[in-house]
């Protein structure tokens, strides 16, 4: 009987450790608070070229992450990429003349959307679109241009 009890305790501990591991994976390893389905509102932006931007890439203001990209689609009427992003609810003071840029973190780093706030007193709300955007810098084009200008510049 004593043996049975010890075994049952061991099973209980095992299940507890397993659940703790699951909890750690969901809280510590993945970030449940930054999860896209949480509280927040949606904005969108159009770009000529999004470079290597991906769904789930971060959206930042001044380097601080305030949201994530939830969808990337292509509008075939105007030949532009449409990027939808979800912004945390508390970040609700983004001026409507803010510029959305696509930046790269470091030379080989990930790409993200950096917001450059303007001076307007009206703020963007759910479903709004950024009026001004700058596309991703494509490295090949940059190098190509540099070589081209070198050629024409004796």
């Amino acid at each position: 009987m004593h043996d049975t009890r010890n075994r049952e305790i061991a099973v209980g501990i095992f299940v507890a450790i397993g659940l703790a591991a699951l909890l750690m994976l969901s809280l510590q390893v993945s970030n449940i608070s930054n999860f896209t389905g949480g509280e927040g509102y949606t904005l969108s932006a159009r770009f000529d070229n999004i470079g290597g931007l991906k769904v789930k890439s971060p959206v930042r203001i001044g380097g601080v992450r305030i949201g994530r990209i939830t969808d990337i689609s292509y509008d075939e009427k105007i030949y532009e990429a449409v990027v939808t992003m979800r912004i945390q609810q508390q970040q609700n003071r983004i001026p409507d003349d803010t510029i959305a840029n696509i930046y790269t973190a470091g030379l080989l780093g990930e790409q993200y959307i950096g917001l450059e706030p303007g001076g307007s007193e009206t703020f963007l709300t759910n479903g709004d679109e950024f009026s001004e955007t700058t596309s991703a810098i494509v490295l090949e084009r940059l190098i190509g241009e540099a070589i081209f200008s070198k050629k024409n510049d004796p």
Binding site: G18, L25, Q28, N31, N34
Partner: protein, 261 residues
């Protein structure tokens, strides 16, 4: 003639494969139908959770720690060349949570718990314990097979989660404490890139599927083992080999479905 012979062999093999698939599917249905009978016999389940789960815990934690530490070291050496060692946590966590955790746990689980299940059930058959139970008007599938199957299915996701968690801690020890990766970068990069649904949950689903596969193969092989010493040892080997193939094959399919696009 040789060609005809090999065709004949191919035919025999596929015939056997189909027969096995049919028989094992029917057996799975019998097990599933027997699961309600577990109510009122929770003690049987607890006993099996002990031998299937608790006794596999040591090898899982040790392997998880070792894999995490080695992964941390190797990845650091690669990443430091491109000055991206800050992404160590992100790389290690994703590979553990998505792939290595479920797959390696599944393989170890098949070797430790699956083979033990097959051997135990096979020996019970060889010593007439299953037949004896039938003669006492008790269905051995309900009393012997179902608790073991369910214990395996429950234990596998828990073990895989422990493997991944311990592995991440191992890589943290090597990366942060030993090699000096920035602690904040280690965790924040990880949190920014590991998704709860896309990565963690899919990993759990994978390990659950592997748990069903291994437990199913193990109890099927044990229950249908030839009732001799040799038959049981062959069945045990088959459990480990078939489980490994099933896990690796299924992993390919699941990865394609989950992370394909």
């Amino acid at each position: 003639m040789k060609i005809l012979d090999s065709f004949q062999r191919l035919g025999q093999n596929s015939e056997r494969l189909f027969a096995h698939t049919g028989a094992s599917s029917l057996f799975l249905l019998r097990i599933l139908a027997g699961i309600p009978s577990l109510c009122g016999h929770m003690r049987l389940l607890l006993q099996q959770m002990y031998s299937v789960g608790v006794q596999t815990l040591t090898i899982i934690s040790v392997s998880g720690l070792a894999v995490g530490m080695v992964l941390g070291l190797q990845m650091y050496n690669i990443l430091v060349d491109i000055s991206a060692e800050n992404t160590l946590g992100h790389v290690v966590a994703l590979s553990l949570v998505r792939e290595l955790g479920p797959v390696l746990t599944g393989l170890l689980f098949a070797g430790r718990a699956g083979s033990a299940l097959t051997a135990e059930i096979g020996l019970m058959k060889a010593t007439d314990q299953l037949a004896g139970m039938e003669m006492m008007a008790v269905d051995p599938v309900k009393r012997v097979i179902v608790p073991r199957f369910v214990a395996g299915v429950i234990s596998m996701p828990l073990l895989a989660a422990i493997f991944s968690a311990v592995g991440i801690l191992g890589s943290y020890l090597v990366g942060v404490d030993l090699l000096g990766v920035d602690e904040g970068a280690f965790w924040s990069r990880m949190q920014a890139h590991v998704d709860l649904y896309g990565d963690v949950l899919n990993g759990v689903i994978k390990s659950l599927v592997f748990g069903i596969l291994v437990a199913w193969i193990a109890v099927y092989e044990g229950y249908h083992a030839e009732a001799t010493t040799e038959g049981v040892s062959q069945a045990t080997t088959r459990t480990v080999v078939h489980s490994a193939f099933a896990i690796l094959g299924m992993d390919f399919i699941l990865t394609g479905l989950m992370f394909g696009d």
